[in-house]
């Protein structure tokens, strides 16, 4: 009567391990005094590392769809998860110093952080609309809680409220769109919907109707214009350790969600979503880059910069071929690493009671500490797309893919707005190198923080000098 095959549990070992460890950390933390809180921290890092090893064991294996079609393990999921683990290690490492200084170091931060990571893993490995939605909710709920984590801060509570309300609306939109596609195709399984769309029997009209809402939901979650309003406020209002989280790893999961929902589910409706994404991408690049110029707060500026980068990532999806997708994947991974570094510098510059989030705080950084000024310079150049940093190649390959698909005008628009965008990145460099410092305080930071941040800068530069291997991995992941 029941047609059921036992799921292949080995495929979900990383997820299962992370869940088990999160529960262990949650319980263990209750028995630790504040002085021994670092045990929680090291256990968290250990969890991420072991999960990375477990995921790495799946590297290069064939695509497996298991759990009755709910879960997929393919080369894309393995690569994106590995990239996400690297970013997560950085997030936990950088935020530790920040939280310690402000007396916010509690076990819940790590538990919520790991729950969020699990949500991203579920999203990346989703093979069913239900899985995508639940993974997204798992991620979003932990993000809402993390934004409100600093309970005594009014700004943070307000941001959390905004994030929660807008996030709920976006999830509603996404669900409505999914329900339309379910109504038209009679299934929630990604490959089954793909087959149903290709067979052409399902109502095209309902599908297009559902697609619009799915795109709106995705654009909300990505932060693409005109659904970007929440992003600057949340980046600005959250504690920097949480902004760091929101601004880096979830971008990788959001990219996976776009790939699963649009590219894998609806290649049959490609011409429809392509047009919609073009509008989103052009608007994002335009508004993100232009409004960023007017910002005096670095976190807000980076928020608008994120919006413009989302536009670029969408360009790769718009190109709608293997080269475009792999370029977008390369862009997303490298952007997450660059963004991680930029917020890491903010954390390094911050002290107890002082957030180094104004642009003026960076005046004369070169005289105060030439090395971290140089690291920030690399990160800013990478975001602007100046060679030899990695941002240059990320932009180059996306543009190449767009041009190869006869959308040269789109590439010209993208380059135009990138040039405008270069202004505010280079203004940072000008502040750091050519202005006199107003603040003479010596930068304090633990050894591991300094080492990781230096490494982060070197990686951004190194990937720019030798981008071939990561790009080859991205290409192989989509083969």
């Amino acid at each position: 009567m029941i047609n059921f095959t036992m799921p292949d549990f080995t495929q979900a070992y990383p997820e299962m391990f992370v869940l088990a460890m999160t529960c262990v950390i949650l319980i263990l933390d209750q028995f630790l005094s504040d002085a021994r809180r670092s045990i929680t921290y090291y256990l968290t890092q250990l969890t991420v590392i072991v999960a990375a090893v477990l995921t790495f064991n799946q590297f290069g294996t064939d695509t497996v769809v298991t759990f009755s079609g709910m879960f997929v393990n393919d080369s894309m999921s393995v690569l994106l998860k590995l990239a996400m683990y690297v970013v997560m290690i950085g997030i936990f490492l950088y935020s530790r110093a920040y939280l310690t200084k402000r007396g916010l170091l509690k076990g819940e931060y790590y538990a919520l952080g790991l729950f969020g990571m699990m949500g991203m893993m579920v999203m990346i490995s989703a093979h069913n609309f239900l899985t995508i939605y639940l993974g997204l909710e798992l991620l979003s709920l932990s993000m809402y809680a993390l934004v409100a984590y600093d309970r005594d801060s009014m700004v943070a509570s307000e941001s959390a409220m905004k994030y929660f309300v807008l996030g709920a609306i976006a999830s509603g939109m996404l669900l409505y769109g999914m329900s339309m596609l379910y109504g038209a195709n009679g299934t929630l399984d990604i490959s089954a919907i793909n087959d149903s769309i290709n067979s052409g029997t399902a109502s095209k009209q309902i599908q297009a109707f559902g697609l619009v809402f799915i795109i709106v939901g995705l654009a909300f979650k990505l932060g693409a214009v005109p659904f970007h309003m929440w992003l600057p406020d949340i980046y600005h209002g959250s504690p920097t350790s949480v902004t760091l989280y929101i601004a880096s790893a979830p971008k990788i999961a959001a990219f996976a969600m776009v790939m699963r929902l649009l590219v894998e589910t609806m290649p049959g409706l490609q011409s429809d979503w392509q047009t919609m994404l073009i509008m989103l991408a052009v608007l994002s690049m335009a508004i993100g880059n232009v409004i960023a110029i007017a910002q005096t707060n670095l976190k807000r500026m980076l928020a608008y910069s994120t919006i413009s980068h989302v536009g670029f990532i969408l360009l790769g999806i718009i190109a709608a071929d293997k080269a475009g997708y792999s370029a977008a994947m390369f862009y997303t991974i490298t952007y997450a690493i660059t963004s991680l570094g930029a917020f890491g510098v903010i954390i390094l510059m911050s002290r107890n009671g002082f957030e180094a989030d104004q642009l003026d705080d960076y005046k004369g950084l070169n005289q105060r500490n030439p090395w971290y000024a140089f690291v920030m310079l690399i990160l800013m150049f990478s975001m602007a797309g100046v060679p030899p940093t990695v941002g240059f190649f990320a932009k180059l390959w996306v543009l190449e893919a767009v041009i190869n698909n006869d959308m040269t005008w789109l590439a010209i628009v993208a380059v135009f707005f990138s040039v405008i965008g270069a202004f505010y990145y280079i203004r940072m460099v000008k502040l750091m190198y050519f202005d006199a410092p107003e603040d003479e305080q010596v930068l304090e930071g633990s050894a591991d923080m300094r080492l990781a941040l230096s490494l982060n800068g070197i990686v951004v530069l190194g990937l720019g000098l030798f981008p071939g291997s990561l790009m080859a991995l991205c290409v192989a992941a989509l083969a």
Binding site: E108, L130, L141, A184, Q205, F209
Partner: protein, 198 residues
């Protein structure tokens, strides 16, 4: 078929109106009660789709447990609605314009006919058990998403506790260990010969 449609539109109309009233009534207790009505009519619509188990669960869980708690909380809180509504008229024009545009777009699109003949709900006989059907798949085909949903609930608990639990100096709480260890001499002072003092 005709009669069923009439019932459907009857419940659907009540659902839409009560959902609207949830966000428009001034009194929060009334809003919560309208939400209860919305849940009941939704359950009725689900019953019409022969999803009896889900319909009953909705009434039992949402109306019976969640909404009662909700009402309780609403009655405990002293919410000044006028403050919440302060910006309403200011944002009304923008909000209304967007809403009208979306409604026009959607109706323009949908008036062309919403052809969904491919998947119509399957009618089952009397002996068909909806509960059994759900039971068969919940821990098998839907194991993975079921577990993730459970994790989301765990996360919600952790998040709620981490956001609200704080030890304040002026909060009075019991320490069971100290209560158990208490001795007679800590609590009772024996006063002898009360009469002789007077």
């Amino acid at each position: 078929m005709g009669f069923e449609k009439i019932i459907f539109y009857f419940f659907a109309a009540i659902l839409v109106v009560s959902a609207l009233r949830v966000i428009t009534v001034r009194n929060t207790v009334h809003a919560a009660l309208f939400l209860v009505l919305a849940f009941f009519t939704t359950a009725a619509l689900w019953l019409m789709l022969e999803a009896e188990f889900l319909a009953m669960t909705l009434v039992l869980v949402y109306v019976g447990a969640v909404m009662v708690l909700f009402l309780f909380v609403v009655m405990m809180l002293d919410i000044d609605v006028s403050v919440l509504r302060a910006g309403f008229t200011r944002y009304l024009p923008v909000g209304a314009t967007v809403a009208v545009v979306v409604i026009i777009e959607m109706s323009y699109f949908l008036l062309g006919g919403f052809d969904n003949s491919k998947f119509t709900p399957v009618k089952h006989g009397v002996e068909y058990s909806n509960t059994r059907a759900i039971g068969n798949v919940l821990y098998t085909d839907y194991l993975f998403v079921f577990e993730i949903a459970a994790v989301i609930l765990l996360l919600a608990i952790v998040a709620a506790i981490s956001l609200t639990l704080r030890k304040r100096k002026d909060t009075r709480y019991q320490t069971p260990g100290n209560q158990v260890k208490v001795r007679k001499s800590d609590r009772i002072r024996i006063v002898k010969d009360m009469d002789t003092e007077s």
